[in-house]
């Protein structure tokens, strides 16, 4: 499933970052690499951005970017 379908306060494993995403390189730099475990911490209301925790740091990503991240439950 995509990160946009994930539930808050749950942990997921990143499967892949779907191509054509302008931000792919940046996500990889922030440690969102296939295999890494992330926690979806919050979703802003009204189709807002997502806050996730990767390697102990909190980052906020736009919804469009989140929809390009394929994850699976752990």
């Amino acid at each position: 499933m995509r990160l946009t379908e994930a539930e808050t306060e749950k942990r997921y494993r990143v499967v892949s970052i779907v191509g054509g995403c302008h931000a792919r390189d940046r996500l990889l730099k922030l440690g969102l690499i296939p295999g890494v475990i992330v926690e979806l911490k919050r979703k802003a209301p009204m189709r807002g951005p997502f806050m996730i925790n990767v390697n102990g740091s909190d980052i906020v990503i736009g919804r469009g970017i989140a929809s390009k991240i394929e994850v699976e439950s752990v």
Binding site: H22, A23, R24, D25, R26, L27, L28, K29, L30, G31, I33, P34, G35, R42, A44, P45, M46, R47, G48, P49, M51, N55, G56, S57, D58, I59, V60, I61, G62, R63, G64, I65
Partner: protein, 626 residues
């Protein structure tokens, strides 16, 4: 003179370190790059004078936004002797990624391991000697905020050496990289990038590097290697594994108790987060405006006294007019800067240093999205209610040009404190406060619609938001004052000269009685289209200098005894039309100068035309409908 560049990821404490090194003894000055500014300063290390450059934070040498591009450009184009890589010890894994890239540049380098105290709190204990050995680069532990370790850092900057190791991938990967490097070396590619770094970035699919290579005969080799290495994922995975490996080698982890209450559960809550945000800003506005009014009155009184004194000293009417114009210009600047701007910018710096701003960006992103900008733009809008000048300057942190243009225009349309005076004094006084609320709602609606239109009209995409949410940090007074001063300085250098020159010109217009001509020129527009008396023409011209002048000068221009008498000459419909026009028309001269500086003369001209158009349209609409 040696040049030292400070490079690090955002929020790693780079500027704090810069202020520690160059803050006191130097004249730090902002140098505008194409879009972002970096700060330069000079300082003595021992007896040697060195130049220190504070570059905007970047996660990686493959940039994602304008600010990062500026850093990379500066890094490649300037003669940098030593790189100081600031690393946030509490986020070591992510930070080492940048360190490894910087090492590939092959320049003398020192790693400043910052915030070791914060890392310890998080339960991360770093073996510095081991890290130094693994990286092959000098590592100095520091706590920039408290000024600890700075001396040792400065000493190692002078002795900095080139990295002993290069980032080592598996043999198969290294061979593939070497093949591409060999090819681009052969075709003698023209680039400032170190070839190996360029090859790695291209294999990873970083567009600017891929494009460079696509233009050469190495195109085939690149696509072949990209296929072999799974579009560069092999390199990325290997490097990440390396970072993890380094982290495991040098860090001991201790269990720390998790705090029971996370303040973000409140401040980023889907409902209470917005309530809290609203309360915080209402408190700031209330404090700034309540505190500002008496100070402004004081400034006005002081300059009135100066004017009176000058009238007795300066002989000659023309000379007096010019001197008075200049003094009034200074008065106008002081009247904004001292009472409103300084406290407001201080509050902004406080929110910035505590770490609240990224949280606002998170909360407001979805609303801002509809206008073609992202959460980060909200800072400009909020600042706009105080003064448009800092609002426009806040566009500096935005990622794309498209976002900057849209935000600069929209933020200048937000009614600043001067326009609030006019709205209150005219619409509020003569028509009732319901109209004031209506005008503010109308303003928001117009901004929203303009944003939606611009989003579709302007070319280009705004890259989506990817921001760090730093932990809340207690700011130090020193860094707050420095930050506030850096922002106020822009206003002082930019706006005050404009205000003085503008004021002198306007006084001369008055002196030579040009106002009749001006009114005659604007008469067809004012009385024909907007249905206003021609005599307000000169008032509107003065309003470009300082918006509250439109209120103060209105009764003089209309030839009545005081503001209260305006209602005898103008109908309610005319008053509302005038107020709407003043709310939207041309930004004041100081704002125009700020827009000029941030986004260029072409865009500022367009903004002047656009706001004039919008104001005319809305005023006409008011005249017809009301």
């Amino acid at each position: 003179m040696k040049t030292v560049a400070l490079i690090g990821q955002p929020n790693c404490g780079k500027s704090t370190l810069f202020n520690q090194i160059a803050g006191y003894k130097s004249l730090a000055a902002n140098f505008p790059g194409a879009t972002v500014t970096y700060t330069k300063g000079t300082t003595y290390i021992g007896n040697e004078l060195v130049e220190v450059i504070d570059l905007p934070g970047t996660y990686s040498l493959s940039w994602y936004d304008d600010a990062e591009k500026e850093t990379v450009k500066a890094l490649f184009s300037m003669d940098i002797d030593v790189i100081v890589n600031i690393v946030d010890a509490s986020m070591l894994i992510r930070s080492i990624e940048l360190t490894l890239e910087l090492m590939a540049l092959g320049k003398p380098m020192v790693v400043a391991l910052n915030m070791i105290d914060e890392a310890l709190k998080k339960g991360i204990c770093i073996d510095v000697a081991k890290l130094q050995e693994v990286l092959g680069v000098k590592v100095v532990p520091i706590i920039a905020k408290k000024g600890k370790g700075i001396k040792e850092l400065l000493a190692s900057i002078l002795k900095a050496e080139k990295p002993r190791k290069r980032c080592v991938y598996t043999r198969k990967t290294e061979e593939a990289i070497d093949r591409l490097v060999g090819c681009i070396r052969e075709v003698q590619i023209q680039t400032r990038w170190p070839l190996k770094l360029m090859a790695i970035k291209a294999i990873e699919g970083f567009e600017p590097c891929v494009e460079e290579i696509r233009r050469t005969p190495c195109k085939g080799v690149l696509s072949q290697i990209r296929k072999e290495l799974d579009n560069g994922m092999v390199i990325i995975n290997e490097r990440h594994a390396l970072c993890m490996n380094i982290f495991e080698q040098v860090c001991r982890l201790k269990k720390v108790k998790k705090r029971r209450f996370d303040i973000d559960d409140l401040l980023m809550h889907p409902v209470f987060g917005y309530v809290a945000m609203l309360l915080i800003f209402m408190a700031i506005f209330y404090a700034v405006f309540r505190g500002g009014v008496p100070i402004e009155n004081l400034v006005v009184n002081v300059f009135d006294a100066v004017d009176k004194y000058l009238a007795t000293v300066v002989s000659g009417k023309l000379a007096f007019a010019i001197v008075k114009g200049a003094v009034d210009g200074v008065a106008a600047a002081m009247g904004i800067a001292l009472p409103y701007l300084v406290p407001f910018l201080f509050a902004m710096s406080l929110l910035e240093d505590i770490g609240y701003l990224p949280r606002i960006a998170y909360l407001m992103d979805s609303t801002m999205h509809r206008m073609g900008v992202h959460g980060t733009s909200v800072i400009s809008f909020v600042a706009g209610y105080g003064c448009s000048v800092p609002a426009v300057m806040a566009t500096r942190i935005l990622k794309s040009r498209k976002e900057k243009y849209i935000t600069a225009l929209l933020a200048s349309m937000v009614p600043c404190s001067a326009r609030t005076t006019v709205i209150m004094g005219l619409a509020g006084y003569f028509l009732g406060y319901g109209y004031v609320v209506f005008l503010y709602a109308l303003n928001l609606l117009v901004i929203l619609i303009t944003g939606v239109i611009l989003k579709r009209l302007l070319p280009g995409v705004s890259p989506e938001m990817i921001i760090d949410i730093p932990p809340y940090r207690l700011p130090t007074l020193k860094s707050l004052l420095l930050k506030t001063w850096q922002k106020v300085k822009d206003f002082v250098y930019l706006a005050i000269p404009m205000l003085i020159v503008g004021s002198v010109v306007l006084t001369l217009i008055n002196y030579f009685r040009f106002d009749a001509y001006i009114n005659a020129v604007f008469a067809p527009f004012l009385s024909g289209i907007l249905g206003l008396p021609a005599s307000v023409g000169v008032v509107l011209i003065f309003g470009i200098l300082k918006k509250e002048l439109t209120l103060i000068m209105l009764y003089q221009a209309l030839g009545v005894a005081g503001i209260a008498a305006v209602g005898n000459v103008l109908t309610h419909q005319q008053i509302l039309t005038f107020t709407v026009f003043v709310m939207f028309y041309i930004p004041c001269i100081a704002t125009i100068a700020a827009i000029n500086k941030e986004v260029g003369a072409r865009v500022s001209t367009l903004i002047v035309i656009a706001t004039l158009f919008i104001a005319t349209l809305l005023a006409l609409f008011t005249r017809v409908v009301f």
